[in-house]
Amino acid sequence: MIWHFDGRRTATASIIAAWALCLMAVWAAAARKPGKQEEGPAAQLSKAPRWARSLGNPYQGQAEAAAAGKKLFQQHCAECHGPDGRGLEHAANLHSPLIQNAPAGVLFWALRNGRLRKGMPSWSALPDQQLWQMVTYVKTLK
């Protein structure tokens, strides 16, 4: 089946529309400067939805999972959070009470979603199992 579109005008309009869409997206992303109250990791964790708070860690207390989480942490997180998790530059100190007292599900949610505007990547490309292993390790940093 072939659909016919007519006219150079339509093509020109579509070019303009495509560029306008891209510019709007960039503008929207750049304009979303968070307020001061939103800047800290505390504000970020407080955004976690209710379902995330109620999630249980399937690997809770498992030493093998914590060891695997440590390996993953060194691969993915140590560059910003430091090899001991105490934080470098703007990355959070994972030994802090804020992180250690947060429900496991909230940390899982934070890993999966990231904070793109603040440079924390979304780790959703990793399987849930590996995210939970990292959460298990982070909880051992108490």
Partner: protein
């Protein structure tokens, strides 16, 4: 030993001797884009090869090298430099591309959109097949390099990338719209891909051959005609299984044979790529100037 074989062996050796782990920006696909962005400040260097086996023209080995940089969490920029060598013909530089990807939504959603804008300055001798659009076909490869390289194209390519990560699976869909800045209609194309690690949970020991380090997937890509004639017919379409091996923390090796699905497609393509990631390249640059 032939040059292609030497290059392949070099890439394999490079992969085998590097030993660091995987980063978020790493993607399995050769043609399809997922919504996973490069991490802020990271630089990824990725040489890739495409071996084409046409029936009606000479075999070729095309190369593109990617330099991908995470400007910040929601903006990734990338420079491609391309060339090719055709059997019984010359080796030519075919041009460059500069692409930008923007992720407008914060956080992870069921479907995550990414907007892609690219400028291309490439000649008709380009054989990397980074995307298939319009009525791209195997006949485009007929002609000598000297003839083909004389035709330069300045194009803008836009993509709407939709990606989802769920239960270890990544599913990505790309809708491509490309416009030659000379007087030519918009050309359309598509690419879809799905992939998954062979093992979802990591083991505690450091390992190179364990299932968590291997990803398998498949991608389909092809042309959708032009603005004047949007169609699936008369264009080329490919199916390409992919296997990626995370050799270490910063090195990923990918291979993908691709099979033509329509009469206008090349019957067979083989792609191989290696990516090396330099974490927090921005920090290293800052150190040099202190």
């Amino acid at each position: 030993m032939g040059k292609p074989r030497r290059i392949a062996l070099f890439l394999l050796a490079l992969g085998a001797f590097c030993s660091r782990g995987l980063h978020a920006g790493d993607d399995l696909y050769f043609v399809t884009y997922s919504h996973n962005m490069e991490e802020r400040g990271n630089l990824e260097i990725s040489p890739n090869l495409v071996l084409g086996v046409p029936r009606t023209s000479n075999r070729f080995l095309a190369n593109w090298t990617e330099l991908e940089y995470g400007v910040n969490g929601w903006w990734t920029t990338e420079l491609y430099v391309e060339g090719q060598k055709t059997l019984h013909d010359s080796a030519v530089f075919t041009g460059f591309r500069w692409e930008n990807r923007f992720r407008p939504l914060e956080g992870e959603h069921w479907i995550n959109p990414v907007i892609y804008v690219e400028f291309e300055d490439i000649s008709d001798a380009d054989k990397t097949m980074k995307e298939v659009v319009g009525f791209d076909s195997k006949d485009d490869f007929i002609g000598s390099n000297s003839e083909l390289r004389a035709v330069r194209n300045h194009e803008v390519e836009t993509k709407l990338i939709l990606g989802s990560n769920h239960k270890g699976w990544n599913v990505s869909e790309n809708f491509i719209a490309e416009k030659n800045l000379a007087n030519a209609p918009w050309e359309f194309g598509y690419a879809v891909g799905a992939s998954r690690p062979l093992k979802l949970a990591a083991i505690s020991e450091s390992c190179r051959w364990c299932g968590e380090n291997f990803l398998a997937g498949v991608e389909f890509y092809g042309g959708l005609g032009t603005w004047n004639a949007a169609t699936l017919q008369g264009t080329s379409h490919y199916a390409a299984p992919i296997l990626a091996w995370r050799v270490g923390n910063s090195v990923t090796l990918r291979i993908s044979p691709a099979f033509g699905l329509s009469r206008n497609s090349l019957p067979f393509l083989a792609r191989i790529g290696v990516s090396y990631e330099i974490p927090r390249f921005d920090r290293q640059i800052r150190r040099w100037f202190r």
